[in-house]
Amino acid sequence: MRTPRRIAVGYDGSPDSEAALRWAASLSAALRATLRVVHAVGLLEHARLAPLAAHEERARALAAEEGMGDARVEWCVFDGDPGSVLRRAAEGEDGAELLVVGTRGAGAHPGSLLGSTSLGLAERAQVPVVVVPVP
């Protein structure tokens, strides 16, 4: 197996996504890989009916705490459902070779499939997927 040079992590500001980002940033730093932080814009956020959080600033700060230099952190925002957006981040010649997600995103429910992005992603992604639990 080839060492991943590009790692993508889903980030929505939830505690689970923060844990996933920290794990992905730590691995990226160790492997000298590029970290692609992906934020999916939903229906309400697109229409500015949900608050636009300062996600990028927070994500970059978390990555820096894990030893990632800012030059190797890419902030990517796409319209879409988190699962389809993360799959897209792994497509193409410069696509990510590893996807990282938290166990549960915003609005999801412990002990239930309701709202789960990670399970659908694990089923459909074309590259390895790491699901990171909250410590």
Partner: protein, 358 residues
Amino acid sequence: MLILAGPVGAHEHDGGSHPERPARVGAVLQGIADLHLGSDLLTVDAPPATRNDLLAVHDAQYLDELEAFSRRGGGELDPDTYVTGTSWDAALRAAGAGLAAVEVLRARGEGVAFVAVRPPGHHAERGRGMGFCLLNNVAVTAAALASSGARVVVVDWDVHHGNGTQEIFWDEPDVLYVSTHQWPLYPGTGRPEEVGGVDAIGATLNVPVPPGATGDVLRQAMDDVIAPAVESFRPDWVLVSCGYDAHRADPLAELALSSADFAALARGAAALAPSPGRLVLFLEGGYDLQAIRRSTAATLGALVGDAAQPEEPTFGGPGSEAVRTAGRDRKRAIDEAWDRVLGAGSLDAPVTRRRSTY
């Protein structure tokens, strides 16, 4: 004759200030009242879909968890999608309304049906609600028709791609899923290269168009890309995922259609039906109440003979080249998919699939 199935959701499944709200159904009913149809309007009640109806398109575990979640009072399913204590019962009736409409159309052998329900459905996947949608209403009806041996086309002109309907019928050769939608936009699926699974190559057709696209661009998509594919498919039924959020007044997206453009799209969809009494439209999105009212009147007026249009058709927006590109990219993707399937054949596993022409 207009068959109105429902209404469902005019009072229940209320998320407060959320844009997917009960008043949307009220706006639809006002649009229908504007047509003054009199005895040409027949309203049929929407019975709840049965467990078996739902299991044709949804996983049992998802149904169980959604029902339990609603019975407990609900909450957020994802950052866009809410569930309340009345959502499950409303969703069941929304999913059953299309079946009641088909039953009436079959008995009468003529007419057009409009399924005036919410919560909407086309984002709901087999195992997941999302994008304001809980149960996939149009898919429940399409699956029931397909199981009776019918060939079904689902035309989805909601401004968002119907990822749920596409996923549910990805490998179903007797259901042709067709979508026009703004790109890029939520949910991030719906590229022309998405043409269906190995058992249904070509039975998914996506025509994404850029923000600002006007009615002439959608009509071009209907005439040049969609109609030829549907004619080759030869459907027995035409179902429409009828969102009104491609209207220029809609707050959730950036297409630029007028109500008159929906009338033209409706006439295009009606022309795809093999005979009278085989067209059913399902309310999906649309979040500006005045646009919903005008567009409902224009759409249904075009189908039941009243051509009154309060707005002019729109022209001149971007997207004509995108439509042409979508047609080319789709054809290439279909050819590549068939090459992969036929190339995978061997003496031990002879290829028996026949290359489709749609």
